[in-house]
């Protein structure tokens, strides 16, 4: 078992390594909350409020201040991840101490520097020193973190599926698209260049401008309207979209169009040419 002093040593070693770059990994201190929540909202789109963070961490039954880790650069919080300790009760009614990693976030302009890796190493050592036998984590399938976790020795664990009852399909489509565009900035920038793009589910439609909450773009020539309409039956595929690999997403979209659960309508030939011109780069960024 790793002793507390070894963890402190690892933490101080990481601190020393990072100090050259003016970066520090440290535990949470009261007063950090607002900055942490602001970082989470930048990283996840619309993560939530301070009340949510407090409910998830300081109010969690096993919480200790040393469970929340942050990366700081020039007095600014640029990384966050937390540990949540809880026992796993086995079918023989035996408790196994486990820990879960949650809300991994690195400021978008600090990504690709291996900061998350350093943070996770320190956190896993801390969790091990406190006797956690297993660590669990949840990732979006095929995301960078999911792929990275496999390199760190994580394996996939079966869990029961979730179920969703949709009361307002149009709102779900809108939110799903927003969430997907937040996670796919390339697709977002491709779509942003398109004028008069509309999405809809059955009869109700909304424009890309309404979706992105922006004033409609002015174009020199009106190229016509492109309308992508989904049927309610397509929702069973669309709700799984977030957790699909890129290949699965493309195959699902093709099958939706083939089964006529999704259709594209063009108001003019110009609209068709405009979308076709963007076609390959759009497909590549899905």
């Amino acid at each position: 078992m790793i002793s507390k002093s070894q963890v402190i040593y690892a933490l101080s070693k990481t601190k020393a390594q990072l100090k050259g770059n003016e970066l520090v990994i440290r535990s949470y201190k009261p007063g950090d909350e607002a900055e942490i929540v602001s970082l989470l909202n930048i990283c996840f789109g619309d993560w939530g409020t301070l009340q949510k963070w407090e409910a998830l961490y300081p109010e969690y039954p096993t919480f200790k201040e040393t469970d929340v880790f942050i990366i700081q650069k020039d007095d600014q919080i640029i990384g966050h991840e937390a540990l949540r300790f809880r026992d796993l009760i086995t079918d023989s009614n035996i408790s196994l101490s486990t820990v879960s990693l949650s809300d991994a976030a690195t400021s978008p302009n600090q990504r690709g520097k291996g900061l998350h890796n350093k943070l996770v190493n320190v956190m896993l050592q801390a969790a091990k020193s406190r006797g956690a036998g297993l660590v669990f984590s949840w990732y979006l399938r095929d995301s960078a973190l999911h792929k990275h976790s496999k390199k760190l020795g994580f394996i996939e664990v079966k869990q029961p599926p979730a179920y969703m009852k949709v009361m307002r399909p149009q709102k779900l489509l809108r939110t799903g698209l927003l969430d997907f565009l937040h996670k796919s900035p390339n697709l977002r920038s491709e779509l942003e260049g398109l004028n008069d793009l509309f999405f809809g589910i059955d009869e109700s439609t909304f424009s890309i401008d309404q979706l992105l909450d922006r004033t409609p773009l002015k174009s020199d020539q009106d190229q016509g309207k492109v309308l992508i309409v989904f049927t309610e039956r397509s929702l069973s595929t669309l709700v799984k979209f977030r957790n699909m690999t890129k290949r699965q997403r493309l195959l699902s979209l093709i099958s939706l169009f083939a089964l006529r659960r999704a259709r594209i309508k063009f108001s003019s030939f110009g609209a068709f040419i405009n979308l076709a011109r963007k076609g390959l780069s759009l497909v590549g960024s899905i």
Partner: protein, 260 residues
């Protein structure tokens, strides 16, 4: 099984807590899941979006048969979501009544979507007909403290009674630990502890050990494919059987509250 008409549904009261905990204890006798002691249940009932009218129980003949905590939250793009963060039910009839009550509550709250993780039991598919099935994310696991893991995995009653008096050394990656099994307890010590040194040594990688522990790899297959090496054992079959008995069942029931 009671008919749906026998099932009564109402708002949770503080005095129900003991019975709700018993409901979870029953679940843990057959399934795997995270701690649901009083502290955790109270925590879920104070989660953002949960109010005293969104925690429900079902009862049959004054006995609690179901428990649900609903949190209504506003998500990205203004989507109002009803999250059933905790759901524990004994039978399909109680589930049907509880789900109907949750739907009614969410309609009153002008909710756009309701999300839940249904307990793994018979009748779920039928009760949730018309609901969309999806994955909230991939659950991943990694081994941390080997001594904690060995102590827990070897503590099962059936192992303690079948292997009482045996000592086995586990060499998992670079770490070597000796495990001494007694009827009452499991003693795990490091390899420097001379008194506890075991003759038999089971050797494998942390990845193989984790897959065996989580029931994803059969130890017999792992041995045949040379992913497990056993040293100084007169008979390897009991050692492989021990590894087989150490596995924890899957899937692990994780409610929405566990995944948040």
């Amino acid at each position: 099984m009671s008919a749906p008409s026998d099932v009564n549904v109402r708002i949770f009261r503080q005095e129900d807590l003991a019975q709700v905990i018993t409901l979870y204890d029953k679940h843990f006798a057959e399934n795997l899941g995270f701690d649901r002691s009083e502290g955790f249940l109270k925590h879920f009932m104070h989660y953002p979006g949960v109010d005293k009218n969104s925690v429900f129980v079902t009862e049959v003949n004054s006995k609690i048969t179901g428990f649900a905590v609903v949190s209504v939250t506003s998500e990205q793009g203004g989507l109002i979501q009803g999250n059933v963060i905790e759901l524990r039910i004994n039978d399909a009839s109680s589930m049907r009544v509880l789900i109907r009550t949750i739907e009614d509550y969410c309609k009153k709250k002008d909710v756009d979507t309701i999300v839940l993780v249904a307990p793994t039991q018979l009748g779920t598919e039928e009760v949730l007909k018309g609901w969309l099935k999806f994955d909230t994310g991939v659950m991943m696991a990694k081994q941390l403290s080997l001594s904690s893991l060995l102590r827990a995995l070897l503590s099962a009653q059936k192992i303690r009674s079948s292997y009482a008096g045996r000592q086995v050394a586990f060499r998992i990656g670079d770490e070597i630990l000796n495990a001494r099994i007694t009827l009452e307890q499991i003693y795990v010590s490091d390899s420097n502890d001379k008194a506890g040194q075991a003759a038999t040594q089971i050797r494998m990688s942390p990845h193989t050990f984790l897959r065996i522990a989580l029931g994803q790899l059969n130890p017999y297959t792992a041995f045949v494919t040379r992913r497990i090496k056993i040293r100084d054992a007169r008979n390897i079959v009991p050692m492989l059987r021990l590894l087989y008995m150490m596995r924890i069942a899957q899937p692990i029931y994780t409610s929405l509250a566990d995944r948040l």
